[in-house]
Amino acid sequence: MADQSYPVGQGVEVTVERSPARGTWLEVVHDWITTVDHKKLGIMYIAYALVFLLVAGFEAMLIRIQLIKPHNDFLSPYTFNRMFTMHGTTMVFLVGMPILFGFGNYLVPLMIGARDMAFPRLNAFSFWISSFAGLLLYYSFIGGVGLSGTGSAPDIAWFAYAPLTEKAFSPGHTTDYWAIAILANGIGSIGTAINIIATVFCMRCKGMTLSRIPLLPWLYATMSFLVLVAVSPLTACQAMLLLDRYLGAHFFDTQAGGSAILWAHFFWIFGHPEVYVLVLPAFAFANEIIPVFSRKAIFGYPAMVAASVGIGFISLGVWAHHMFTIGMTSFGNAFFTLSTMLVSIPTGIKTFNWLATIWGGKIRFETPMLFSIAFLFQWVIAGLTGIMLSVSAWNWQLHNSYFVVAHFHYVLVGAIVFMIFAAIYYWYPKITGRMLDETLGNWHFWLMVIGFHVTFDVMHFPGLLGMPRQIYTYEPDRGWNTLNFIVSIGGFIQAIAILIFVYNMVHSYFRGDDAGPDPWDAWTLEWATASPPPVYNFAIEPEVASRRPLWDRKHPEDPDSAFE
């Protein structure tokens, strides 16, 4: 019998050392640098992203200090431009994507019962080229006029609209740092996406048919497909921009007949699906966390998969809703208004399925679930302002105002960052073997929720009152003073929450309660092995007969597999 089973609850019969390697620090460093283990690479991605989260959060704080009162001279206009460019670029490319890829790296092989990713060395390559991109981007701070003048840091906004990125308007190397960093990051992302797709479809353990893959790997596969078709155009754009800047080509050079609008199209062909690249993993976390903390199987698994794939496809046809004010035909405006609204159908399906999962469940209000519930509310509100902005006539009034900034921060912070926090609280015990402190977690959660709503609920109003984004200061007679003051205070509350979270992570790593292999009484395969998992993940390769293999193991009298 033993060869047909794998250990549950007690972990594998192998002693797992807390530290991955014993020896001198140099050996440990060497071990991490040369690793091809998906778990170590996942941890490195997450750590790298969290460092940049603090950096980009610091930049956001500088922006909010500058805007706390009219006629403030805390930052120079040039520094302000660099701060919002670096804040946006860092948050999207060096925080959002790496942390989500990190979780994907860590969890996908474990959840499908595999021992590693399909291409471990490609995996390491992707990580290192992405981290090169981050280092290069931040190296720009010490070029040119040095740190206090913030060097050659990019100052072209995260969408880098042409022709302001051409040599004539952007001399020096600010734009080059940006373009090369994004290019390198894109190569890493595409490599990881290829790897995740091959892993999900080709490395499944015995019995895991397409309809039994847990939702997280399913959504990661969809997200990886979006990366393939959406990040590649961005990479192509950077090549074009660099050809313009270094070889005198004319793609976006309006003096020679090139088109600035083409850059906008190309950028948003990437830029809009990118939102879904970031939000699909957030959905994936919700799909895993909400059922476990409601003590019910996910409601409507096939509808969830179909809706996710549907979101992926529809999101490819909506990019020009970022360009209503750029001057399109009325047909174009109508098409992109309608296609944008269409996304709300699959998104609605997902939201109602989550609600149906919670409905009648025995809900445990632990920190991961708290963040997930806040996510549900905030995601719905973000969707509602999204529908407002998708109406082209309304968009003409609000384009590039703080209303737009508030809307997308609702998506990026209210939905994605909240689910990232939920995921960290949920999987931290698996990754480190220790629980995060629940009291500190509650402090983090409540300060974060309050700070978030103080900041971004209020931020809609200066937008409605006409405050444009990306201005370094404003006149005192516009009626924005109090609103901006409140927004800045909200930002500080969020910063305090995140510092508590960082303290919790460090503190719990050394002092946290022992987690054991399955602290949440969950149902997917990653909880079937020790915490942290051994290098080979599973002593015996698992075999599954339903979507909830651990439920089957724990409840042999009432297994899911009997109903399939």
Binding site: V8, F201, G207, S232, A239, M240, G257, L262, E543
Partner: protein, 198 residues
Amino acid sequence: MATVPLQHDQHDAEWTLPSRGTVAMAALITAESSIFTIFVVAYLYYLGRDVHGPTPKDALEVPWFYSICLISSSFFIVLAERAIEHGKIAAFRLWWAITILLGIIFLYGTGVEWHSLIVDHHLTIATNLFGTTYYSLVGLHASHVVVGLVMMLFVLVFSLMGAVHPHHAYRVKTLALYWHFVDAVWIVVFTVVYVVGR
């Protein structure tokens, strides 16, 4: 007891999964296709928008011979795939070498064309929009040909060293998939640059 025995009806059933090489290559081709799409769109969008010449009509000759060489190489690589599947290593080497040779001839053709454009027509990437889009699109394709040739040359060298065996057929097929993609893209580029563009 922490371990629960697993007994499944389909325990003895065959469990087969798609090959990861093929899936990964298909994914790579998807990504590459969208990169090429961006360059093709740029080429078509900028057609006829040059501020000054030379235009495609003035400068371009249709590279019939070289295109036929590249397209027919797809045929020879299929022969090579079949040969290695059936264990005929000598035949595999022959067809594989012919594929590489045809690829090199095509690349030579691109070189000849570029030389004539630069020297006779004074067209560089910085001259006008035609130069910008032409060199980047055709150059992007040529760079893919170079990558394919380098990988195929590796296989040829390994094969001559006696390190390629019939059980490597699946890897050869994955590489061949890439080469078919390079050929298929040339059909698109050819249509856009030499048929629509002229």
